[in-house]
Amino acid sequence: MKYIGVGISGGKALGRAIVFGHEKIARSNNKAIKPEAEIKKVSFAITALIGEYNTIIDKGIENSEIVSLAEAYKMMISSPSLCEEIKDLIKGKKYDAVSAVEQVFNSKEKELSLLGTAYARERAVDINSIKKTIIRKMLGIKDDDWSNIDYDFILVSKEVTPSMLLSVNHKHIKGIVSEVGSKTSHVTIIAKSIGIPVVFNVEEVHRIIKNNEILYIDGSEGIIINDIDSESLKTFKEEIEKYDALCSNLKEMLEKQAKTKDHKNYEVAANVGEATDLERVININADGVGLFRTEFLYLNRDNPPSEEMQFNICRSFATALADKKVIIRTIDIGRDKKAPFIDIPPESNPFLGYRAIRYCLDNRDIFKTQLRAILRASKYGNVMIMYPLISSIDEVRNANAILREVMAELDEEAIFYNKEIKIGIMVEVPSVAVMADLFIDEVDFFSIGTNDLVQYTMAVDRTNSKVKELYDPFNPAVIRLIKKTIDSKKDGKFVGLCGEMAADPRYIIILVGLGLDEFSVNVNSVLKVKKYISLLNYEECKRIVDHILTLKTGVKVESYLDSYAKEAFNKYLDL
């Protein structure tokens, strides 16, 4: 059976399922009769757990993420103030060991949740997971010992906690599947650093999957498959082998430029949506950041982020990437992904409503703070500003007027910034694409946002299953708009494209042929896109585009490209 979830970390793997159960911990809520005995129980459990963390730390596991997490957890449970609080409850209020631990950890968890930032909320998850581990130890619940597993396994649970990851043998963990999970959790961070696939949002997965059964996981597609017969097992094994071979093959692209066989160069930059993505962008040696989504700074928090915080994060990227581009897109929020402190009333059609630049032009305080932070960071590297959802020339001019105001303020305060900072816009509304030859005079660059461009061109909501067939990036109208945008380039300005299409091998043929300057894709796809480009010939792609422009339907375009892609990319199509 195949189950669909959300892929969080890419890769393919096979392994035996280890299903962590979540039985309720049954216990009586007794008053402690002998406080001394209860205190002993707590210290035994804590000492035992410290011992386990020490083993992880001392083992010198190669993965530094795991070690530093174990160190942080160890520090939390060996804190003297924590132990005092627990003891006080047992001695003073006659709590039993379990209730005391529960009470103290719950209040810590609550305090952290109240801080109202996404990171703090994630840490509350950590605390909950430590609490449960200690309580199970005190109740003498013997967890199955997974620390010596010597076969490849896939961890399955309703929610995979960092503690679970610390208690298994890391050499053999091949994947993680759960119903609940978040992409900023420690579990995700660790999985990405080990390089194993992760799939979240698989409903009831801990009930569906049986312990020890063989499981196939594909983190790029976001699927898991069980009930595997011997024939498909063979196929999966071959697929994984092929995939692994191709991936290690791709490493050769790390130091290479994206260049076609006939020596035309392209840039392949990365899309970023978390502060912690920086390390991955550097490791993959991307040609900068083509799309810095700033929404993560605003979502999941109760108050606006400070200018200093935004500045620091932008500066970290600017400094670390030196002369490579860092294209920062200003806030792109709307009713569909709103921040708690941003008041956008319900709308019947948020995608056509009050969002992104439209909101910013009206709410100048938030916009100006962001622009200030970006401008201040611009002196540390090659930072550029990009406005989202532009639909008219006036909006560009109004946004630039605000930018000039902010610049004047900085000048007055004698704060340095790059006065020549490049300003660009997202091309995602057809009204901009059809008039790209006039828009180009107003800006330094375009970045085509294909997801929205397709949606707005075809007038289709792709999350609506009744009409999603109409969402077709290969529709000739979409291709013409992209062509028009790229053709409008002049005076040393450039055109990039950020969106899923930039990583689609068939679309890459079109974009190479159209002479796109910069592809901006997820960090995971950077090497792949470089590889695809290196297998193409610019002059030939130009001829393909010429032919495609004579085709009248998306289906025709797609099938023509399909057959060409098979020939050009061959085995690399499986990536």
Binding site: A72, K108, L278, I282, S306, M309, N312
Partner: protein, 89 residues
Amino acid sequence: MVKRDVVVNLITGLHARPAANLVKMANKFVCDVTLLHNKNEINAKDIWEVLNGGIENGDGLTVQCNGKDELMALDEICSYISNEEVTQL
């Protein structure tokens, strides 16, 4: 007693691992290490106090050290928190 104002420059603020690093560092010294942040006094040697301080990237705070090795402690802790090399994640 010595003190110095710094701006936090740790990409995720003082959460979990950076907090653990700071606490480990503070505990190497015999002096008291206190962080003054939003009118809170945070004992930098206690991980729970640091975590609950809700200190974010970009926040300003005062590091205060009091004891025998206060000068060394102040230098090391301030340079960790304000992290000029920026690549520290």
